[in-house]
Symmetry: C2
Amino acid sequence: MSSQQHDAVSDDPAALRVNGERLWQNLMEMAAIGATDKGGNSRLTLSPEDSAGRRKFIADCQQLGMTVTSDAIGNLFCRYAGTDSRADAVVMGSHLDTQPKGGRFDGVYGVLAALEVIRTFSDAGIRPKRSVEIAVWTNEEGARFTPAMMGSAVFAGIMPLAEALERQDSDGISVERALKQEQWAGESPFGRPFDAYFEAHIEQGPVLEASQRTIGVVTGGQAIRWLDITVEGHSAHAGTTPMASRRDALLAVAAMAAELERVAARFAPEGMLTIGELTIASPSRNTIPGSITLSLDLRHPDDEVLARFDSECRLALAAVAEGRGVQVTVKQHWLSAATPFDSDCVDRVDSAARMLGYIHQRIISGAGHDAIHIAKHCPTTMIFIPCAGGISHNEAESIEPDHAEQGANVLLQAVWGRANR
Amino acid sequence: MSSQQHDAVSDDPAALRVNGERLWQNLMEMAAIGATDKGGNSRLTLSPEDSAGRRKFIADCQQLGMTVTSDAIGNLFCRYAGTDSRADAVVMGSHLDTQPKGGRFDGVYGVLAALEVIRTFSDAGIRPKRSVEIAVWTNEEGARFTPAMMGSAVFAGIMPLAEALERQDSDGISVERALKQEQWAGESPFGRPFDAYFEAHIEQGPVLEASQRTIGVVTGGQAIRWLDITVEGHSAHAGTTPMASRRDALLAVAAMAAELERVAARFAPEGMLTIGELTIASPSRNTIPGSITLSLDLRHPDDEVLARFDSECRLALAAVAEGRGVQVTVKQHWLSAATPFDSDCVDRVDSAARMLGYIHQRIISGAGHDAIHIAKHCPTTMIFIPCAGGISHNEAESIEPDHAEQGANVLLQAVWGRANR
């Protein structure tokens, strides 16, 4: 960490640097709230632990003179006033809730990097033209209430508030009741204009680590297609049915998976294919599987290429089915179009990383993030930093303090530039 | 059906023929007890329906002057006395219990074909030298209490009585309690000597139907090996993990299944291979499977060949695992040696089919049967007749009356010959 840099407060904002040690200490303080035995965090959305985390964050913001509001789904907005109070704010943010056995950085890093940016402005005694806000989105994880990214979806008009409020956790407690219990619902209007939104986040994948780069300049979110596949063969006795007269759904699915893998190779490296679920109907050790359902997750950054990828998968499935005398049906379960991020925002992140001399690369966001929803509302982008082994949603989640500092410096420069345009 | 034949009662026992119409009528009467909506049968072992079926059968036997005993596991023995009361009896039989939604012929056919044989002896006024018995084994199906083939296992000393009596159904009712409720336990000793055992049964497979033969001369039971396989890759996010850096357990399993299918082809047509169960640990549509367990059922009529088949499967699994950077472990779950049937008994069935002019073939029993246990106790064989589409354990189970008659005629001739040796 280079704590010297921030001591040299300068009139030149390009020389401004965050305090990496202070950022790390703040991350560790937040990690103490809902800490788990194995070094992770458990702050399920709208739980007492989540509220404790939010209260600590709000107290830190108020010390900097920021004003705090919330909306009816409990999204928090902490505002550092700019010199032009009528201009739309530039917003940073992410989430403070975690998986039941989550890590210390997923979401939290983006919120606390944003806080460190404001602290750095405050220490330097400077204010940008536009106000700068930090958003803490409610229920990004989707672990207690589905769907994930609920708060940003409601804010951006993607999900109706009433529908979100009705969702219940496994104990039958609704989002509405949890919001009342924890007292997070406020009156800030949904969908008020933002000038731009910047979200810093751990990569949650292995790409930056493998390429030894510390900053990912995120160009957008992948298009995703989820397919439901059913393969119908003929269930029969494993001991009495000669191999030649079988219509074994399992062996057919295995042959299909091998073909799908070949199709995916033609769309490499950007195309991704995953069979995450596979269920044999009435499975029994000595029964030839007659019916199998499986899921297929297909991804590509380009909508049109993904459509072609999908078609080629369906052709491959049909060819194997015909060759093996089984029936295959494919239904689209869900489709998410690609989300290209705003080119001005992306370029500001890229320029900041270059100016700061950090090793960076352009990258696609493979996971869902609040930024994917907010991109439908305003110019948006993200900044990734590496995480060890690409591991996330796991107590073993880990990042390097230097990378955390670098990501926050990129965030600071990108936001400062945008907030003064 | 050829009912004329049996009217011509002759001094030559080789001219004796069963009454096919009577046999069919008796099958239909039994099928009315515990009949299901879709034309099947539900007589779970030691249920009131099972007892009603047994009582009808006993009444029919008593009308023929047969004596009825049972043993402590509820196996029934109905005896048609021979002229030499000290000679060990020749035993026919099978079971009257069914699957919860079973067919009308699985087991029942063997019991009622045996009854028709005795009726034919009785009509002709003849008695063989040895007594001939009909055994009705308790809980062949294993649907209410595990394991299957319980009664014959206890009789043959393969399973201790005390262990069988303790087994409970899903309502917590033990075999012991069910036997008391339905009053089937008696004092006939386990393991008393049999001269031989003949079991007629539907094939429960498609071989005879496909080859258009009506009699299967069963030469024995297959050897079976059940293996438990675990494949460990690396679980990761479907959206953030490049294809090239994945260790996808599902795609590894698919490649393994394809290789296993190639190994099985080298042991065709007698070698059989089935993956009946496959479970992804913590399956999720957007998570690359990290750990998968699956079952492997391997069969061959020859113990030594099966051991080689097993070895080649393990080599194939290890090769795929190494190529894909996943771990594979293989454990033997269960092993059942091949059961070659007695050559004298097999030859008697073969000769009878030839003498009767029925199209027949030698065949291996792929399913478990009481005869597989009794073969450890005395010279044993089975007689198969075709069932439509090889379908069994299903309400749609179906056979041809002509085939039922032919199987009973083969049983009669084989048993008559053996009982007079």
